[in-house]
């Protein structure tokens, strides 16, 4: 569920705006998320969805938007219905 992604972003993303006001494609870094906060987002997503991001995904662009995160989770095998 995108709701779960947004919940993680709300807790760890250090966004400067309410996450509910962002579209799936809005740039999270423009919305205030720091590169370092994106690492916490990544680790919290791993816990939430019981996955491990691959080495190739360990770059800030993987976490640049809700849709980018959803795509990355789908690549890791998280079912679309769960994302």
């Amino acid at each position: 569920m995108s709701d779960q992604i947004r919940s993680v972003l709300d807790e760890h993303g250090k966004l400067l705006v309410d996450v509910t006001t962002l579209t799936d494609r809005d740039d999270l870094y423009t919305a205030g998320m720091t590169s370092h906060a994106s690492v916490n987002v990544m680790l919290a997503l791993e816990d939430t969805f019981d996955v491990e991001f691959t080495d190739q995904m360990l770059r800030k662009s993987t976490f640049a938007s809700v849709s980018a995160i959803r795509d990355a989770l789908a690549e890791l095998g998280v079912a679309a219905s769960a994302v």
Binding site: H36, V39, L43, D55, Q56, S61
Partner: protein, 139 residues
């Protein structure tokens, strides 16, 4: 073709408290996603390592800025672990680039990087300067 030297600069600033909080919450799992084995060996993973790790994370971000990935596809942004700070026995830091970070630096004619790290008053910061060989007249 004539060649000239150009200078690229990247700088970044990070919160030590943020890194300390992440170390406390996620531990080694957090550190291994950002830092190389050598960086972890240099700094350790105890709470007292947070200032040094913060400055190293700032150095990675400074290099990402320096390589100006804004004009590249999003998936070309280098991974944090492809950018490494090494520490000489005398404490002097230097930058080592691996994989895509090294490739991107080579594409830009960058053949030398110099880094300065600092941490105090709750922040870690790094400035990286690169010398790049460019076609003359092209900045």
């Amino acid at each position: 073709m004539n060649a000239a030297l150009g200078i690229h600069v990247g700088t970044d600033i990070e919160s030590i408290a943020d890194v300390a909080a992440s170390l406390d919450r996620w531990g080694e799992r957090y550190a291994r996603r950002l830092f190389t084995d050598d960086e972890i060996a240099d700094c350790g993973l105890t709470p007292s390592a947070a200032p040094r790790l913060t400055a190293r994370f700032a150095a990675k971000e400074a290099v990402i800025k320096l390589l100006a990935p804004g004009d590249r596809p999003a998936d070309a942004v280098p991974r944090w672990r492809s950018i490494e700070v090494r520490t000489a026995p005398n404490g002097a830091p230097s930058m080592i680039l691996h994989d895509e970070a090294a490739d991107q630096a080579a594409e830009r004619g960058i053949h030398e990087l110099s880094v300065s790290l600092a941490h105090a008053a709750g922040i870690g910061t790094a400035t990286v300067v690169a010398l790049a060989q460019t076609e003359q007249g092209r900045a």
